[in-house]
């Protein structure tokens, strides 16, 4: 905890996150300042922003269709006409990667949102209610933690893919399935984190004060406890984005994710892997895209951990034991 400066004494009672620093604005700007000190994290943020901008704006600027077949230009390396080369049907790889990158990134973000929502709800319920609820929910969390992720993911995709495709169409169907399943298999670390935070926070004086003033339980949770538990959740969520991107790519790489007409990065790799000896560029570009995205997200997570961890507020030069957060979710592909 930072020693609050005198001015902010009232602010502490008004806003929940302020229990850590003088006022809301300065808390976040303080966090931002610490984040910027982590050079690799800043670099990661820049790289990621460039990637996001490229896939968002790219298809409007680089107007080459993703499915234009041109056999005269098949399996060409990078040229002026096709900056990243072409695949076995002569389709332009840059256009495909820009389009597929949207889906890869969207899957990552959407799955992360599901994971942290479910995780926060489960963790909050377990930590705040306690007793049998806590016990049951934590056993459930343990059970989910001992499920092998990829095999189960494959099983679910195998069983539900066709019917969802019929209901939602090929693209949305697979997207919804992949996102829900990846998110649904990654909420456990968040639940554990949130529960641990709740257990310590609900005994703190400011929560007791809120209780004493007659705040109903839901208000205590949402207004007073959750904002203070949000730091580790943000860090876990960041790493979850990377993990979800890897999970989706793995699935597509195994040929069981998105169909070939939706060229996510993993899917392009799947198509490329049998042509490695004469068209290495085909695999290297999408692979590098996945790698760079995951690397920058992991670095951002690292930087956010330094920036948001209240224990590190006092001195930013203490050695950073990162084991705890590594347990949160080093991506596992």
């Amino acid at each position: 905890m930072t020693p609050p400066t005198g001015v902010a004494a009232e602010a502490v009672t008004r806003t929940a996150p302020a229990s850590r620093a003088p006022a809301v604005r300065s808390l976040w700007s303080e966090a931002f300042r610490r984040f910027r000190k982590h050079h690799l994290a800043t670099f990661g943020a820049v790289v990621l922003l460039v990637m996001v901008a490229a896939v968002m704006v790219g298809p409007f600027v680089y107007r080459v269709p993703i499915d234009e077949i041109d056999f005269r230009a098949k399996l060409k390396g990078p040229t002026w006409a096709h900056p990243l080369g072409t695949d076995d049907l002569g389709q332009d790889l840059l256009a495909r990667m820009l389009y597929g990158g949207r889906i890869s990134l969207a899957v990552g973000v959407a799955a992360m949102l599901i994971a942290i929502t479910v995780g926060t709800v489960v963790g909050a319920a377990a930590g705040h209610v306690g007793g049998t609820t806590d016990h049951t929910l934590m056993r459930l969390t343990d059970l989910f933690l001992s499920l092998p992720q990829l095999p189960l993911l494959l099983l679910l995709v195998y069983l539900f893919r066709d019917s969802l495709k019929r209901v939602l169409g090929p693209e949305m169907g697979v997207f919804a399935l992949v996102v829900v399943v990846i998110g649904g298999l990654r909420w456990m670390p968040v639940a554990r984190l949130v529960r641990a935070q709740f257990l310590s926070l609900r005994e703190k004086e400011f929560v007791e004060a809120a209780r004493g003033l007659g705040a109903p339980p839901l208000r205590q949770v949402i207004r007073h406890i959750l904002p203070n538990a949000v730091g580790p959740v943000i860090v876990a969520g960041t790493i979850d984005v990377a993990a979800a991107i890897i999970a989706e790519s793995s699935l597509s790489f195994l040929g069981l994710g998105f169909p070939p007409d939706i060229p996510t990065w993993g899917r392009i790799l799947f198509d490329a892997k049998d042509n490695l000896d004469f068209a290495p560029h085909w695999a290297i570009f999408p692979g590098t895209a996945i790698f760079l995205t995951v690397l920058s997200i992991n670095y951002i997570g690292d930087g956010l951990r330094d920036a948001l961890d209240p224990r590190k507020v006092m001195s930013s030069r203490t050695p950073t034991p990162d084991g705890g957060a590594a347990a949160v979710g080093a991506p596992d592909a």
Binding site: L147, P151, L152, L155, L254, G255, G323, A327
Partner: protein
Amino acid sequence: MSRYLLRRLLIMIPVLAGISLVLFTILCLAPGDPFEELATNPNVPPEVRANLRHQFGLDDPIPVRYLRWFTSMLKGDWGFSFVSRIDVGTLILQRLPTTLWVLGLAQLLGLLVALPVGIYAAVRPYSLFDQVSTTLAFIGFSLPTFFTGILFILFFSIYLDWLPFIYRADISATGWRWYWENLRQAIMPVAVLGLFQGAAMTRFVRSAVLEIVRLDYINTARAKGLSERVTILKHVVRNALIPVVTLVALQIPGIFTGAVITEQIFRVPGIGSLLITSILANDTPVIMAITFVFSCLVVVFNLVADLLYGWLDPRISYR
């Protein structure tokens, strides 16, 4: 100790029951019917189909079906593969040793990399070695295994032409040559998986050692004149390994993810690649059984981690 082991083994039963319940629920919720093919086949009269359904108990209520499925799984009767026309159990037993062999070697390689590098880096924090190794570890676990696998194939098989990129179970050579060929073809899958595991573990080891090395009893050990080697190996590392074991145990389900992908890239004939081929061939009994086997392996390895935990930390009493 043996009582603890027995108790842990008994705890495994409800855990496995829970996992099997999850799997079975998924299967029941899933649309589709194992007899779908018969239903669309005009040569099979409806009454035959109804009889078959009845014979296989498909019309029974779900809890009854679950109990029957779970007990037969426990008895080792895992059903019959639609595609290979042999018992699922036999099929999996043929493939399992390869998977365990590759996984075990990879885990060993991961430890051999992670322990020395992590310890050395933590003993000299912020040195050049520490910075380089931390960065490499970060890169290592951000590189998805499928991409590392492709890069390895590109470099070692295609560019240098040193190593085979297809794993063969039926090497015809004999004697030393057989061992040599087996080793050669295992290098790339093991390296891909092992280096990935090693990268994650290096971080764990480094941060755990870093926490311990600052404690007072380490100063005491140094002050009483123990050599640096003994201080680090006997006093620091043993305590630092305790949290590392926990973290590695938490990573176990993830190892199988890597195993499935590595087996698929290098065509290692293990249960991971069997899973993929079964999914592509709609071979439901095999898919269910393999998912269950993977879950069992997770549970077993967690048990091993727990036992290791007790060995490293005698303060934990087996009750």
